[in-house]
Structures are given as C-alpha cells and as structure tokens.
Subunit: 350 residues, 2 copies
DNA sequence: GAGGGGTTTGGGAACGTTCTTAAGAACGTT
DNA sequence: AACGTTCTTAAGAACGTTCCCAAACCCCTC
C-alpha cells in the first residue's frame, strides 16, 4: 500500500535559500530598509528609487513575511469560520459562499469544526485572543450563557449566523424558521394535507427549538391536529438519525405529510417512506428545510424551505468585514426572509 | 430586511483592555519576562516562581500572541488545504477528515478554494512563501508544468492528493481509478451487462483522464463494445453537467449500464434515466465513483467505487504533519486501493 | 570561610515588518 | 547670500515572543 522512494534523485536545487526579507532587498538595491518598505507599500518615492527597489525585489523573489507584518500592523488578514459539522450540506453551502467573499476581500479563511459541544465553542472564542484572525463568523448549534459571555467579552469582532437572545448586542444574521415552516404548512394545507408531521433534530439546539416552535404555531394557526404522535425528534441533524426517527414516526402515526427539520432529515423521510412502501407525494408529501443540493438530487426531488443559507452567509461575511473596518459601527441584526422551493415531493414539477 | 439597533445599550465593559502580554504578566508577578516565558513553556523553574507566574497569567487572562510567537519560532501552527471546489462532496469528505486530524495535531486549517484554474493554484503556492502556514495539502484538478515547477521550488512542504507524473519527487497520495473502474466493470459484467457507458468529466483534468483510461482498459479487458457513442463528457464534475451529458448519451446509444466518473455524475444519470422512463437497475444499472454521502442518499441508492477519499485525506494529512517535523525524510508515495460499495442501483440490497 | 559545582533567574538580542521622526537635498524667496 | 519650504531618504524604535548567555544564588566540600 505504501511505496517509498529516495528523494532528490531527479533534480537538484530545492530551497531557494532562506526567505528573502526587506534587509536583503535593501542591500541589493543599495537603499535603506524603510525606503523599500515605503515603495512596496505605495508610499511616495522618486522614479529612480522605485525602479531600483522593484528590480531588486523581483530578482530576489521577495514576498513579505505574514507574521512579521501582522505583528506590526495588528492585522492578520484571516477570518475564522466556525461551524458544527463541515459535512452538513447547509454548512457546506455557507462555506462555499463565505470562501468567495472573504477571498475577494483579501482575507484567508480558517475553518474550524467545533462539533455541537458548547465548551469547544467557548474555547474557540477565547483562542481568538491569540490574535490569529481578525474576526470570527460562527454558527453555534447550542447557545449557552457561558458562550454568550465569551463572545461578548471577545476582543475581536464576532458575527453570529443564527438566532440570539434579544438582549445580546452582537451582530447577527438569522433565518426566520417560523415563517419558513409556515410557508411549508400553508403549501401542504393548500394541497389538502392535514396530518402534518415534524421530524425534528435535537430540540436543545438553536435550529431544533426554533423549528419546533414554528411548527406548533403554524399547525395551530391552520387548525390542524397537534397530536404528539406527529412529532418525533432525531438524535442529530443527520441522515441516519432521520431514518430512525421517521421509522418511529410511521410506527406511531399515519401522517399525510412530513416536514423534515433540514434536508438530510427530509431525504431520510423520503427513503424511509419508500422502504415502507408509501408513495410520495401521493400517499405522503415531504418537505425539507435549507434547500441545499441534497434536495434537488433526491428522488423524488424534495420540496424545501429555503432559509437563505447562502444569503445569510454572504450577509454575515460582509457584516464582519465591515465591522473589522469600523469597530464602532452600530450593531446590526439582519433577518433573511424564507422562500419555498416546490419540487416533486409535494407534487411540484418533475 | 435589515433592522439596526444602537450598540452598548444593554451592558457596559466590552473590551477587557488591550491584549495582555508577557511584560504585563511579568510585572504583575514581579519576575522577569524570560521567566514567565520559561514557566509557560514548561521549562524548569521553582515551585514558587511557577505559582506566581501562573497566578498572574490566569488573572490577566494571558494568551500568547500568535504572530509574535510564530515570528520568533518560524512556525505558524497552520496548514493550508487547497481544493478546486469546496462544494464537491468528495472534497467535503476530505475536508471533514483533514479537519479532525490537523486539529488533533494542534494545527489550524486554512481552506482555499482555487477553482480549476492552474494560475490560481500557482499563485497559491507562491503565496505560501509569505509563511502564513507550515505546509500545504493540495488536490489539483489540472496539473501543468508550471504548477509542478512552483510546487517543486516551494520553500514549504507540500503533499499532493492525486496523481503526479512519475518523475516528480513530491509526497503524494493517490487513488487507483483504473483498478476502481475495473471493479465496477467486473461487477457489471457479472450481472450480464455488456453495453457499459461512461459519463466522464472533463478529460483534461487529472481524474477525468485517469478515469477514461481506466474505463477503456477495463472495457477492452472484458471484450466489451468500445463504441465511442458509449462515452460522453460532461463540461464539469457537477450534477447539472451530468444531466446534460446523460441526456446526450441516451440520445445516441442504448447502454445497459452507466458509470459516472463521480457520484454527482452518477446521481445525474439516475435522475436522467428516471426522467426518460428507464428503470434502474432493471433496464440500466448505474455506478458512481467516490462513494460519498450522495451515493447513499440517492434513490435508488447508488453503487459506487470507493476511491478512498477519506483514507487519502487522512494519509496525506499525516504525511504532511510528519514532513513538517522531518523535512528531510524520503519522499513517499502512497496508493490507496479502491473498493466497491454495492447498492440498489446495480441490484444490491435495499 | 573560601572555592566550586549546579540550579534558578534575568538581561537582552533577534525574528521582519511598519512608521515616526529627523536629517539632508533641492529650490524658491527675500 | 541667507533663510524658509517642500520633497526625498534614512535611522531607529516598536510590536511580543523565544532563547542564548551571564549573573545570582544555593549548597556542598575542602
């Protein structure tokens, strides 16, 4: 499985000497270190000097040393993105968006996968004080008092993607799950469904509790049955957990529609229904949430509540970049309105 | 959509003063800066001194400054991972694996999405010389001479995930697509399939050319028809491109099996076949490659060639970490053997 | 009590950059 | 010819850390 070969057999000069620095460039150009710095950072200089410096820098292949520069300037040109699980499609979507935006603004992206453990998130926030990044984008799955306190007392700007208690004065960008679920229920009701079930994720998480509340509100608003047999909770927002939870649901109730609290749970419901011999959407309609690629790829394709994950990520990234530039700007809270993407699983177009 | 509120209305002290440093800790503890550094880095010290230092550090909430430390030590505790598209499931899988390994080894992960543009990859490699990371993991989609030259002359260690020309002396971890496709073809032949089609991605990419070569070899080995109508090329390794390519394929040939060059193309084939009214696997069997989550979530679930993306990522990360520690270790090349995950799309268990 | 070995502590240089301050040059005005 | 103004360049401090080296101390032995 592993074959090893000697190095250096094919070619010769590996390292182009040690990292060249301002001093070497200055020596080569016959000018002072400060002049080199000034020229390279766009300060004023004579034609003559600028030419000498640029030639010398090019010849030596000079590139500024990141740590040294950031020690002096206090900026690192890095932004950290912290998510619970880099594998979850909704975070993938956010990451894809964020990557583009921060890169365009000249930042590198540090990705941190914290899991759902609140302590790991707190550790992350305090580790920010090491100053390895200029700001933090985080989407916490579980929010505790300690985490909020840690975020509050952070020296660096933090933008939260997700809902926060009303009295926390931190920039944040949130979805409106309640309205989103309302759209799903309304759509299902319009199709004559009445026994609408919810396959939720853990209710002690931010999205889990929001989605349960939204579901209950919508079901009540439309005068639908709210029997607790129609509500099940998966142990995580994953496909596997969703299969189990849906199986349990089908064992205890006969819904004519199922809402999955995210697309993975929705797809799990689809697959579990198929395994049980139920037809979708004829017997049971299914709706997912987040409108990720997984919804489009599913068979039948999954109607999904678009909670604007890409828009949220984009807004959050821009907010963070702005706050880094203006630390004293007023706190903003942005709410991204939801939309419904109707697909085959609720009778939409093939 | 955006509601803005004044900051600082709810609570008071935001910043806990400027970042505390060794000097402040030393002053508070009544000892020298060097002693503080020594104690905090586990050097020898008296009980008394150690206690004073630790108390002072805790009281001030001291955390070492990342840039300053790395300027002095030459290490950044960061590793960069460069992939073409953070959204592609196979890269997601790699990223998930890599995240865990580098975090456990005490590194932060910088993620860079280069696209398939060779120049962007070259720029990335040269930017490494800024010294913002200790090493680079990269999985290049297209490899040019210039890119190889850039990687060769890099001051920092690079581990390539993917196939490289034989004479390039860089650590790398590769899949064996040829054998992998062989497994798929063998499996299909055993089920009596003979008109086996390939829905490939761009052939000027590393995986594209490898998979085409593997397909041709396998088809020839089993004495199957090699008509060019059975080979189509999608414009990218994406779902949408796969739908189009499969539609074209079905318009020009009547395969009894389709191999997608990755899972997205495989799922696209599934969906396109369903849209065309063909039954899977009864009329046409389908196989994907990479064995990502998308294969399991598909309906019918997709048989897929496991090219060991998680194992490759793991091996590559460990290799890089080792090379950072021992820069002069011999170059290693690791080949991860493929395996076949049989699922419903070729008649496997439901 | 002086000398010597070993341990513990502190002083200070160095990493590569930016930026403030000041020195020097060029030039026009009185 | 002396002086002020403006522009260009250089010197050197500072960022916070680590680590080499020397100073200080302790304890033991002679």
């Amino acid at each position: 499985m592993a074959e090893t070969m000697k190095s250096g057999s094919t070619h010769e000069p590996k390292k182009p000497g040690p990292q060249s620095n301002l001093q070497l460039v200055a020596a080569k150009a016959g000018v002072s270190v400060s002049s080199v710095s000034r020229v390279l950072n766009g300060g004023s200089a004579s034609e003559e000097l600028a030419r000498k410096v640029r030639d010398a820098a090019a010849e030596l292949g000079y590139v500024p040393h990141a740590s040294a520069r950031s020690m002096r300037t206090g900026r690192t040109d890095q932004i950290t993105l912290a998510v619970a699980d880099v594998g979850n499609p909704v975070y993938v979507q956010m990451m894809r968006t964020v990557t583009g935006i921060v890169a365009k603004a000249g930042y590198r992206l540090v990705v941190s996968s914290t899991g759902s453990d609140p302590q790991a998130q707190i550790d992350l926030v305090t580790s920010l004080n090491r100053g390895y990044a200029d700001g933090l984008l985080m989407s916490p799955l579980r929010i505790t008092e300690d985490l909020i306190e840690a975020m509050r007392s952070s020296r660096l700007p933090i933008v939260v993607i997700g809902t926060l208690p009303a009295d926390v004065a931190l920039d944040n960008v949130r979805a409106d799950s309640a309205t989103g679920i309302g759209l799903a229920v309304e759509h299902l009701v319009a199709q004559g469904r009445r026994r609408i079930a919810l396959v939720n994720g853990p209710v002690d998480t931010v999205p889990g509790s929001a989605r349960l509340a939204g579901y209950l509100a919508a079901v009540e608003r439309f005068g639908l049955p709210t029997s607790s047999e129609l509500q099940v909770t998966a142990t995580a927002f994953t496909y596997r957990a969703g299969r189990k939870a849906t199986a349990a649901l089908l064992g205890q109730a006969s819904p004519d529609a199922i809402i999955g609290a995210n697309d993975l749970l929705g797809v799990a419901a689809l697959k579990e229904l198929a395994a049980a011999g139920a037809r979708v959407p004829d017997d049971v309609a299914v709706v997912g949430m987040d409108d990720t690629d997984a919804a489009e790829l599913a068979t039948p394709s999954l109607t999904s509540v678009d909670l604007g994950s890409a828009k949220r990520a984009k807004a959050a990234a821009k907010l963070l970049i702005r706050r880094i530039a203006e630390p004293d700007a007023p706190v903003s809270r942005i709410v991204i309105p939801p939309a419904l993407s109707v697909r085959e699983s609720t009778g939409g177009p093939a």
